[in-house]
Amino acid sequence: MNQAPIDSTGISRGSLRTYLTGFVLSLILTAIPFALVMSGTWSPAATLAGIFSAGLVQILVHLHYFLHLDTSSAARWNLLALIFTFLIMILFVGGTLWIMSNLNYRMM
């Protein structure tokens, strides 16, 4: 019976420190947009920008500290697949919004 820890490439292992750092950063990055919206002190445009940037940074924090994605050779193919997927997502979401808003504009 082989019960030794498996050594896999790609998604590598974390440590207690990376998980706790990720947790604290995520808590802060969750608290910021909620506080912005619940207090309503900023203008709607500034609040939207705040939510968007906090969300984006938190996604990067999760990718780095929880999914252990970096530029090391072991994770390179995972990173490449992710970047390619982002390209498709931008085409899908951006293209849909563009076409639908244009249609909406012409129907008015």
Binding site: M1, N2, Q3, A4, P5, I6, D7, S8, T9, G10, I11, R13, G14, S15, L16, Y19, L20, G22, F23, S26, L27, T30, P33, F34, V37, M38, P44, T47, L48, I51, F52, A54, G55, Q58, I59, H62, L63, F66, L67, W77, N78, A81, L82, F84, T85, I88, M89, F92, V93, T96, L97, M100
Partner: protein
């Protein structure tokens, strides 16, 4: 068919799987997650198009309860961290802590799903179901798809509890725990998009 045989077989052979098998399974699962990401991207695009199509019905500002949402978010975030601790216990071979960790993660995930079902039930009971407006249709589809993924993650976790208890931390079991870890962190990542774009931006 060799890959299938190493994955499914429960004979002694699976314990001496080829060292590259785990790496291939991990990468293959990552590709699956990327295809899942595209499903969510299409649902996000649909929601973005319909996000103001209220058809005279309620708006996000009237429907969404932010403190409740914060509770759901914290349940899912904490479960992501406890699953990270499960993986640390897996790497150091502490079977008891792996089981305790999975149980805690399962309960936190169950808390999230229960809160979401309660929220959906409240919305439908108040007449704000998916049939009310295009906004609500796309809302239920996007958030419901995520909730379904979390539910399947919980089923997977229950299966893994059994496997760890019965089989111990063998290589195939470790490999499955690793893929479940990717799946669970991925769902938390999607949730960041949902609470930011659907809920918070809907209330602003």
């Amino acid at each position: 068919m060799t890959t299938d045989a190493t994955t499914i077989s429960t004979t002694y052979n699976e314990e001496v799987a080829h060292p590259d098998t785990v790496a291939m399974q991990t990468f293959g699962f990552w590709i699956y997650l990327m295809s899942d990401l595209i499903i969510f991207a299409t649902l996000f695009a649909t929601f973005a198009v319909f996000s103001r199509s209220y058809a005279g019905g309620p708006t996000g500002r009237e429907l969404f309860d932010l403190p409740y949402l914060l509770g759901e978010t914290l349940f899912l975030l904490c479960s992501s961290v406890t699953y990270g601790l499960v993986m640390l216990a897996v790497h150091s071979g502490k079977k008891k802590w792996v089981l305790i960790g999975i149980v805690v993660t399962f309960l936190l995930g169950l808390g999230f799903v229960s809160m979401e079902i309660h929220e959906f039930y409240g919305l439908v009971a108040a007449g704000h179901g998916p049939d009310r407006s295009a906004f609500l249709s796309s809302f239920f589809t996007l958030v419901g798809t995520h909730g379904t993924h979390v539910t399947f993650g919980l089923i997977w976790m229950a299966v893994m509890m059994g496997q760890v208890a019965v089989k111990g931390l063998t290589s195939p079991v470790q490999s499955r725990l690793m893929r479940l870890s990717m799946f669970w962190h991925f769902l938390d990542l999607i949730w960041i998009g949902i609470f930011s774009i659907v809920y918070l931006m809907g209330v602003v």
